[in-house]
């Protein structure tokens, strides 16, 4: 037996058992070997016990989406098999401890507990498992050892034990491959070893830093916490104010205070946390403050499925906040786009004096893969702050709707902002004419956002399509791969990270479709409704999934084949 030009490895175990470490060790080692690597995890909302898994795809050509198929499955505890069972096929190689899985006929035995005990403690079963996978694939032990040295080099004793455990596993893996006559001929490319490897939270965090983010106040909430922690880690190095707020209400108000004083602030939260920020969002609209909101979606309503994924908060981002005011929503679908959207969000918010959302989800944030580079700009963004004159008026009426934004302590004027309806100088008014003029002014700002296409859209597949698939956010890469697998000459896929406002170019593409299919990870087709609201074009079908799991490439491929042949 020979592995194809790609291999899919799934490791399953309890929370607290170190699945995250295994994922890190294996992805690093596989990439160092010169393979394209994708990893995504799913986990339960608990600190210990339960079942967690990581899916790792390694291939000769780029892989960037979640696939259900498993070539190699490593069971790390007694409950793992039942958790993963439905993804196991007759072709899957199932590896586990024979002492635990004595009833599984197809089991390839790996005495994890015994080997770990030879080294010391139970926890070294992880290194045994990593060694086994690397040995089975016939990859060099030196690559694995180098990874372990990088990760555990700070503690010689721990490193030595990990090295010993991994060697024991590696020997078993090599012996098993030899005995069963398996070999691996995955084509490797040494250039990949030097590429970047990061996850969605890191991509958003790096984008925010590049966009000039220098203030973040947030309350921890899965799956948004990764971005907050990323920025906290680099607070000193990049001169960034980071505060864990007492609640989300405080967080967004601190952020608005920061923008008022000249900072470039963001908040990172999830649906339940953002629900509390509604009044702050409306305040941003009323005082015409820039604001960057990273809204990391997870299934709701209420606390929903805290550690799983969904695209259920588009309507929330679109309609949250009382009153009428402009906003913008960016929903990245790749790590490069997550970086780009987070970077652009600061300039867009600053330039439009409006809130800008970066709408992500658990799947995107917790997925990682190799990217050749991130698109760093040549120059930092310019800030859109003006030095005030003595007669400065914060809300001066202008044709564009944008009044020059001053900050206290820079210039001769006074910067007066008020959440009540206000006149040009920022003072409270109930004058009917001023009220109308201020509403018009605020809404005029939106024209600029709508007419420009700020973030590039993509059309995959034929340009003379009959059937058009539309997805948004993190479904992008699975749809792309499914489309490539099916290769139908009449089906294209339209995708824009800028989901609101929809640019005119995107609208033209939509109008040209004979059959429009919108694919979303929610139950009611929120993006399809948005498209209809903005363009009048109703979707002919919606492919929806809302079980808390990401769309798999296979599920979309299957659906598309049915569609094409019907």
């Amino acid at each position: 037996m020979r592995f194809k030009n790609e291999i899919s490895i799934v490791l399953v175990g309890e929370a607290g058992q170190g699945i995250q470490t295994i994922e890190t060790v294996l992805t690093r080692t596989l990439k160092a070997a010169g393979l394209h690597v994708f990893a995504t995890k799913e986990f339960m909302s608990r600190i210990r016990g339960g079942s967690n898994s990581t899916t790792i795809r390694a291939a000769s050509s780029p892989v960037r989406a979640y696939a259900e198929e498993i070539d190699l499955c490593v069971l790390l505890d007694g409950d793992a098999y039942s958790w993963i069972q439905e993804r196991i096929t007759p072709d899957t190689l199932v590896i586990g401890d024979p002492a635990v899985y004595d009833h599984l006929d197809e089991l390839i035995p790996l005495p994890l507990a015994d080997l770990a005990k030879q080294v010391g403690e139970k926890i070294y079963a992880n290194a045994v498992a990593c060694g086994f996978v690397i040995g089975l694939l016939g990859l060099k032990s030196a690559l694995l050892e180098k990874t372990l040295e990088e990760l555990f080099g700070g503690n010689q004793e721990v490193l030595d034990k990990n090295l010993r455990a991994s060697r024991l596993g590696l020997e078993q893996g090599e012996a098993t491959a030899k005995e069963k006559e398996w070999f691996c001929d995955l084509q490797t490319n040494p250039q990949i070893a030097g590429q970047l490897f990061l996850n969605g939270s890191e991509a958003v965090g790096l984008g925010a830093l590049t966009g000039g983010c220098n203030f973040i106040a947030s309350y921890p909430m899965s799956p948004s916490t990764g971005v907050l922690q990323f920025l906290a880690k680099y607070a000193e190095r990049f001169g960034l104010v980071v505060e864990q707020a007492e609640d989300e209400i405080s967080a967004i108000n601190m952020g608005l205070g920061s923008w008022y004083a000249g900072g470039r602030a963001m908040v990172s939260t999830s649906g339940g946390g953002f629900a509390l920020m509604g009044e702050g969002l409306s305040l941003a609209g009323g005082i015409e403050s820039p604001m960057v909101i990273h809204l990391a979606q997870r299934p709701g309503p209420a606390t929903g499925l805290p550690t799983r994924t969904e695209q259920g908060d588009l309507d929330l981002a679109l309609y949250a906040g009382h009153g009428e005011f402009p906003r913008m929503i960016l929903a990245p679908g790749t790590l490069e786009e997550a970086f780009e959207c987070a970077r652009l969000a600061f300039d867009l918010a600053d330039a439009s004096q409006s809130p800008v959302f970066i709408l992500t989800d658990q799947y995107l944030l917790d997925s990682s893969y190799n990217v050749p580079e991130l698109p760093l700009p040549a120059e930092p963004d310019e800030h859109h702050i003006v030095e005030t004159s003595a007669d400065y008026r914060r809300y001066a009426l202008t044709e564009s709707g944008l009044s020059p934004r001053g900050i206290p302590g820079y210039g001769q004027g006074l910067v007066c902002v008020d959440s009540d309806e206000h006149d040009e100088a920022g003072f409270i008014t109930e004058d009917a004419e001023v009220r109308t003029a201020m509403v018009d002014k605020r809404l005029r700002k939106f024209k600029g956002l709508r007419s420009e296409q700020t973030v590039k859209h993509h059309l995959f597949g034929p340009t003379d399509y009959r059937r058009l698939l539309v997805g948004w956010g993190s479904t992008r890469l699975a749809i792309e791969e499914a489309l490539a697998r099916v290769g139908d000459p009449e089906t294209a896929f339209l995708y824009s990270p800028q989901v609101y406002p929809l640019s005119e170019q995107v609208q033209e593409h939509l109008q040209g479709a004979q059959r429009l299919i919108v694919i979303e990870s929610n139950a009611t087709g929120q993006f399809a409704r948005l498209i209809q609201r903005e363009t009048g074009r109703q979707a002919d079908a919606c492919w929806l999934q809302y079980n808390g799991r990401p769309f798999s490439v296979e599920a979309l491929e299957h659906r598309l084949r049915q569609e094409v042949t019907s």
Binding site: A217, L240, L256, D418, S419
Partner: protein, 286 residues
């Protein structure tokens, strides 16, 4: 006397005739002028309510935000530009009710800001309901049988949380209040001034006369560094004590932030270091 630059002349003031807020407006602008605060470097932050309208009647930078949210906004401003003098000002409903959680956590942070609370023990703007500081038995259209809740004691809470400056003043005592306000603004760290003021329209119980008769200054030998003594004084109700109850030197929130360790400039003067970001990105090639 020279013109007070913090006074905004000729504006239409929305307060009722005789309102205690007029006195606070006068005393606050006088305190700011006496301290010779730099107008360009002074920001007033307020929430919602009649007290929160105070910056509208002043010549000052202001952020008049949402109900109860003045302290988070003020904290965000101070942390983003520590050179600014920041005063957060609002009523008892705003600061102790809607903003109660922020009040607690702002004290824990200890940013260098002054928190002036106009305490009239009633909700004026919504026409006379109980506030967190209303006394038991206080009858209102919403509490027809009288307030049954224990009144919130802001001073005791602040001292329990080891706030760095805790004072109570009464607007009817001009000289002493002016002095307390100046001390509070000068103080480095979070400074609370619970400022008693009558609501002449909706609180017929806690009038000028009532405050006069039911308040008394702390003893001359009161030691503001003695936390136990300060706490005991804060619990006194008959009479309510006035003066500076407690003082403590504490590290400032903004001074301890990692983001201000290497880089001292206000955030608006900072540049993105693309070279350093490029180096960081390269650390992800492992």
């Amino acid at each position: 006397m020279t013109t007070n630059m913090f006074v905004r002349e000729g504006c239409d003031i929305a307060w009722c005739p005789g309102c205690g807020n007029f006195g606070i407006l006068k005393l606050l602008t006088a305190a700011m002028a006496a301290l010779e605060l730099d107008q360009q470097q002074t920001v007033l932050v307020s929430g919602i309510g009649q007290a929160a309208k105070i910056p509208q009647y002043m010549q000052v930078h202001f952020f008049n935000g949402l109900h109860g949210r003045a302290l988070p906004v003020a904290t965000g401003i101070k942390a983003s530009n520590p050179n600014l003098t920041v005063i957060a000002e609002s009523g008892d409903g705003d600061m102790y009710g809607e903003g109660g959680n922020h009040f607690i956590h702002c004290i824990r942070r200890n940013p260098d800001l002054t928190n002036i609370v106009h305490n009239n023990m009633v909700y004026g703007l919504t026409k006379g309901q109980a506030s967190p500081t209303s006394q038991r038995g206080f009858e209102t259209p919403l509490q027809p049988a009288g307030v049954i809740l224990e009144p919130f004691n802001p001073l005791a809470v602040a001292i329990a949380l080891e706030a760095s400056f805790v004072a109570r003043a009464f607007v009817g005592h001009k000289e002493q209040t002016l002095d307390i306000l100046q001390q509070a603004i000068r103080h480095r760290g979070y400074a609370l001034v619970d400022l008693l003021q009558p609501c002449v329209s909706f609180n017929k119980l806690n009038t000028y006369q009532w405050f006069d008769e039911n308040t008394a200054y702390l003893d001359e030998n009161h030691d503001p560094h003695d936390r136990i003594q300060a706490f005991a004084s804060a619990l006194e109700e008959d009479p309510l004590r006035l003066g500076v109850f407690y003082r403590k030197e504490k590290p400032l929130f903004e001074d301890q932030l990692l983001g201000h360790k290497k880089e001292k400039k206000p955030l608006f003067q900072r540049q993105v270091n693309l070279e350093e970001i490029r180096r960081l990105v390269q650390e992800f090639n492992g």
